[in-house]
Symmetry: D2
Subunit: 438 residues, 4 copies
């Protein structure tokens, strides 16, 4: 390889389920057709820039462990170019179709916003060439509105309107670049959109600011002809004590309040779902039910750590249940499966970076294959459907269609002496059925 | 006392802050005027029927500890009348203005719904007399749609439409009785409205059922001329693994989805807020911001127990922050402060029941007095307001009013070379300021 | 079947991994030999009495859902006999080798302790016959020292010494019966051994009481010649706010404090480990490291519910990691795998009871088979061992054996200019390696 | 002030409870005598170096916000001297008696350990002069064995024995310096002593390493004549997924296992107690019961954030319960109250640093005064004591002293027909009693 970072590592190939080495795809056979679609097109896997190439291995109690060449002192733009070289070398090694980035991941912040924007555009030029060469596509871009101290009290929700303006200007460039690179989506994550203490916060005012900000982005998207989806990524807290985009249901209510529910969808992260007290599949199913499902940030949060652990997803039965919800809802359109996962900080080597993506891609592929098998089998769905069969009878359908009043129903219970008897929900049977497929 | 249950206990009187015995109100001086209103009218305290008179001291690992006379074997309606006698004796001892109940708290379930309804109405007759005598008022009534096994898979969200109908019929009677007794509100708590496993659940369908059910109640309320408020009580889980009314934001989105946001408000419970991962004051502030604040179920959840511990609220600084949000939003209209708290199961004696309410009422009163003092002092609010002062400038107000585009803002940042600098949020100063008042 | 409860259900047989129905063991092939031992002898699966036959489907917000014939009104001892009949019918259907019980599970509490003891002994007589007939063995017995209100403030740790005496007397009978039935172990679970509030608690005194109680049991065991293991089951809270047997490490310290570490081991429950903030495998590994590993209560706690959910274990990758720790430590001696799991309360039917055990037994068997395969493969262990290889060098072994002082080590660092460099921990590689086997 | 950092800020003085500005001690009247001791001598308040002078305001999603002069680029030792100047200026402004530090807080890491040690010693020289001038004393010193990447897999528990040696050498210097500066204690916090995954960990071996390391420190302490206390600080996780010093009970078991329970005590942090699932007062009471109470790291963890939030303690009722346990156990000997708290990262100004310490010192003082008042009142203790009175009777005392067997007790229950009846635990009364004092 040109940079030498991955020296000695072979491109990752499909090796089949019987292979006894974890380096190699045992299940991620990208051209395998399942439910009428190639596996690659089902999953739309994307490598993220920040965890793999920008995070140096720090944690709240320790300094960097990775010491990558491109993180060392030196000319920031030269280092950004080296980082881009390494990144595309990794995309090629892995053979995955997409990548994702924040503006500040790919290019250094300059002394002014104009300089920062120029940096971003310069690296985007680099990307254009590399994307053409490699075929790697952009799943989505986003702007980092949370790391710089100017955003410490929020970007759109900052008490200072100049910060709002600054954030808007930054998003404009990030969206422009995403558009130029053919991004399939544009994501907003409001890590600082929330509050630390109500003692200094006007919650209502900040929600209105956030609503207006999002509308500005949507309006601009249409003006420039960006046809990708605008996505909000829910998260309950961290870094901000309370974040306004707490979970899928909260984002839905927010979108409804500001009339944006037809314009914006959600990018659901496994770890954020867990931190909000939900299962991942709950958030997926709810987003489908509310019509706002967009994309997925795939990782695994330690259930027993109360912060974003962003581990590589490896538990196949859990992944199968998640992809079952995705498939039931129709699968991805513009969205995909973004690896929002980072190495453990002790995993120092280049091969760890590859192995982690391979291992997780394989677990994800097994999950999707199992989900597809469940759907093809049909028993899970049939068992669930049978529970609701009574609602198809005309007198019951009439309830939902608004043709019955409370008095009507009371009268019916009395007249027919209704004494409905519960029937088994069969949860353990259904869980055992799932285990046939995972 | 007629029943003898409270023999030896004196009516609880205001004794002043210097009293050294906890039996007696040291701060709950009901006629004291603060911010232009009597303390009693600010707090609108209500005693709940279920915890005080129906819960026998059981927990998941142990049987009843209380062994109240009215819980023993015997004629159920006679026992219900004895329970009513004891309840009103307690209301009189405490001198608090309101009470609250579920239909099944006050009267036993019969062999049929007709019989159950008759039982409820018979006890309502008893209540009418006692309320007239004592002046105690009804803050709200509600229907228990979660204890009976017919509701194990939901009431409104049950896969069986006959259960939906049965629940509707039950609510009709509960709302009728609430109306007859002059209830200021009617509450719905969806303890079984949710799901145990997605494997057997059609989430979208169940949400539609729930939306229709709520609409039925609202329509009926208007038909009978009930002018009280319809309230939903959010809770994230327990008993159901996932409940649809997770928190205030979720309920708001649900109301918007079904067009009910002008008709229904929320009854916020401290313990449920905590279980949803929010502070109590967050839920209060958010409900005000969204225009759906209704009433409060006051208790205290152990932050380190993952279920509804329903303890009596005793921490004054926390209560002060909660009432500050309530007062900032304008205070209660039809709502009030319902003691949704139960004795610890080792607190066996009649005097424990009185002492718990007295101690918590006093802590609540201290909380409200402290909140009022903070508001009169004005520094907290002034510090918060000053942070947002920039938004009053015309060029910034124009952003929120929709007169600026993303391009405008980007242009402004560039033209004015904006480099907004962060200013201190002063959290510790504000927390220290709060400590002047608690 | 004689009782008719399981009418229509066939005995569960080994059907092989390719079977497409979940009724039947696909992996639990009891005579299959792995790592030199039959699968049945590895797992030593036990059905518990309380969840399967005593719990009526209640939860804190709802009444019973199951309505089993033996839970209905009637002569308590006749019902206990019917329950025993059903239980042994289920043991036979499942073909599992062990069962477990509390004294109060199998026989009703009488008006006096003497009567209660007589009831327990009478059912034990019934058991003796049935065990001889069926070959089912007793993994362990235990005494219920938590349900009756006399124990609300603790059994051994009660402020009232007469409660301590009563508990001791109850344990004596339970241990006698366990001994008579050939129990392989005797368990103590201290659900009420802890406190609700420090305001009324003398923690030191209660710990001493608990230490003395345990010593009494150990002394008695030796006097009667019971050769089974005495086991403590750790749990952090619920029902008691804080329980003294919080986790494995706490129990170890407690045993050391009272000189009982050679006499008592731990029965580790998956759900209790989770509630204490640990992974199940942590508790297993720690118990082995401390020399107090005894037995396992197998279930699955919802990671997002803060109470004991006691679900049937179904996640194979998690089970594999647990059994890997058990096997690494040498496997079970007197202990085994007790199903401390209950049906979801909506799983009403007899077949649900069977299906749940079958599905979980199979997941457990897959877990053990995967763990055995990992051990046979050897790469996981070899990778871990290689990390510590430096400690085998004499100069480093001398550190651990106490032959070096702090000054020696400082001198060595200085003399040899030590600058140790970190090496990759390879976590994602190891996790991917695990996924080869599950 | 010489450095100018605190320009414009007055020394903090005692202003009395009626003062209406939070700048000034309203309750921390250091010479006030309570329970026979000056308030300053009760609390032994210490300012910590790391949070106040070393943490730049970063969090996992954002860069530094504080931008202190001494954190800027420049000669590291010159910056360390400037930091020392600012620190002692703050100690003087606050008028608090103690401070605490890690070796790496006060002086930069050099190219070799020898250079690092020289840096530490050079700053210790500076400290000696300043301490003599100001009268500020050292509560404890400690070594940072967690930030540098060499410790990423543990210090004492590292798989590489050279890291163990390096850590030992570093502790030697830190202990030497602590001794030289008259430190009252020496602390070990094992942030990396634990594991990330059991897949690459030998838990038993690592525990043995940790035991040996601690013994080395204890042996060395005696050799050099250091008479301060060696303290371990428990914490359950973060940064390491699982840490061996999980909580007080775990540390106790560890000390017993390695025979160090008479040599080492615990430094209990409020936030770490919370993260372990305990109340702060539980950990304090348990440490006293086990005879290992040493010192306190005072802060406040957000109950709803799953990481170390290290906020300044402000809730007086909670503080009162904590100091009640400290006072009940006899108060501090060598230990004290260390402010292990940091500003919120938006609190940018020098005055925030002062205000935070003042506000929290005052809340702490109120807590201790309330605790003392409870003790002087006596009713809380008397109520608790009365519950255990039965144990003073000879026949019951004989149980605890080992003069009764299980058979004796069973015989007594039978003979005396014991049917012990529960009595009220009066929790709400006791909580109301507490509210008289806070």
């Amino acid at each position: 390889m040109a940079t030498g970072f991955f020296d000695g590592l072979e491109p990752v190939r499909f090796v089949g389920a019987d292979a006894r080495e974890p380096y190699g795809y045992r299940f991620y056979d990208k051209d395998r057709v399942v439910l009428g679609k190639r596996l690659e097109d089902h999953l739309r896997l994307a490598v993220c820039y920040w965890h793999s190439f920008c995070w140096p291995g720090t944690d709240p109690f320790g300094g960097e462990t990775f010491q990558r060449a491109w993180m060392a002192a030196g000319d920031p733009m030269a280092q950004a170019r080296l980082k881009a070289d390494v990144a595309f070398e990794m995309f090629d090694l892995l053979g995955l179709p997409f990548f994702t980035f924040h503006d500040r991941d790919i290019a250094p912040e300059g002394a002014t916003l104009a300089e920062s924007n120029a940096n971003v555009n310069a690296i985007a030029d680099v990307f254009e060439g590399k994307m053409a060469d490699s075929g790697t596509r952009l799943l989505w871009g986003t702007a980092n509105l949370f790391s710089n101290r100017r955003y410490m009290a929020g970007a759109a929700t900052n008490p200072d309107p100049e910060v709002f303006a600054y954030a808007a200007a930054q998003v404009k460039t990030a969206l422009d670049v995403t558009h130029r690179l053919g991004g399939a989506n544009y994501v907003l994550w409001g890590g600082r959109e929330g509050y630390e203490t109500l003692l200094n916060t006007d919650l209502k005012r900040e929600l209105d600011q956030l609503g207006r900000f999002l509308a500005l982005v949507v309006e601009y998207k249409h003006r420039i002809g960006f046809t990708g989806t605008i996505l909000i990524e829910p998260k309950p807290q961290e870094p901000t004590k309370h974040q306004y985009d707490f979970d899928v249901a909260t984002v839905y209510g927010f979108l409804k309040a500001y009339g944006l529910e037809a314009e914006v969808k959600v990018n659901i992260e496994q770890g954020h779902a867990i931190l909000a007290g939900h299962s991942f599949e709950h958030e997926l199913a709810l987003a489908h039910a509310l019509g706002i499902f967009g994309s997925v940030d795939m990782n695994r949060n330690d259930y027993q750590s109360g912060w974003d652990t962003d581990q590589f997803a490896m538990n196949v039965p859990e992944l199968a249940l998640a992809y079952r919800e995705i498939l039931k809802g129709g699968g991805f359109t513009t969205g995909g499966t973004n690896f929002d996962a980072k190495l453990r900080r002790q995993s120092l080597d280049a091969v760890d970076l590859i192995q982690a993506h391979v291992g997780s891609a394989d677990a994800i592929a097994r999950g999707l294959l199992a989900a597809a098998a469940m759907i093809e089998d049909g028993r899970l769905q049939a068992t669930a459907d049978a529970r609701y069969a009574g609602w198809d009878r005309p007198e019951n359908a009439a309830i939902l269609s608004g043709e019955r009043s409370l008095e009507d129903l009371a009268e019916r219970v009395s007249r027919d002496r209704l004494e409905p008897q519960p029937v088994s929900g069969r949860q353990e049977y259904l869980e055992s059925l799932v285990n046939l497929f995972v």
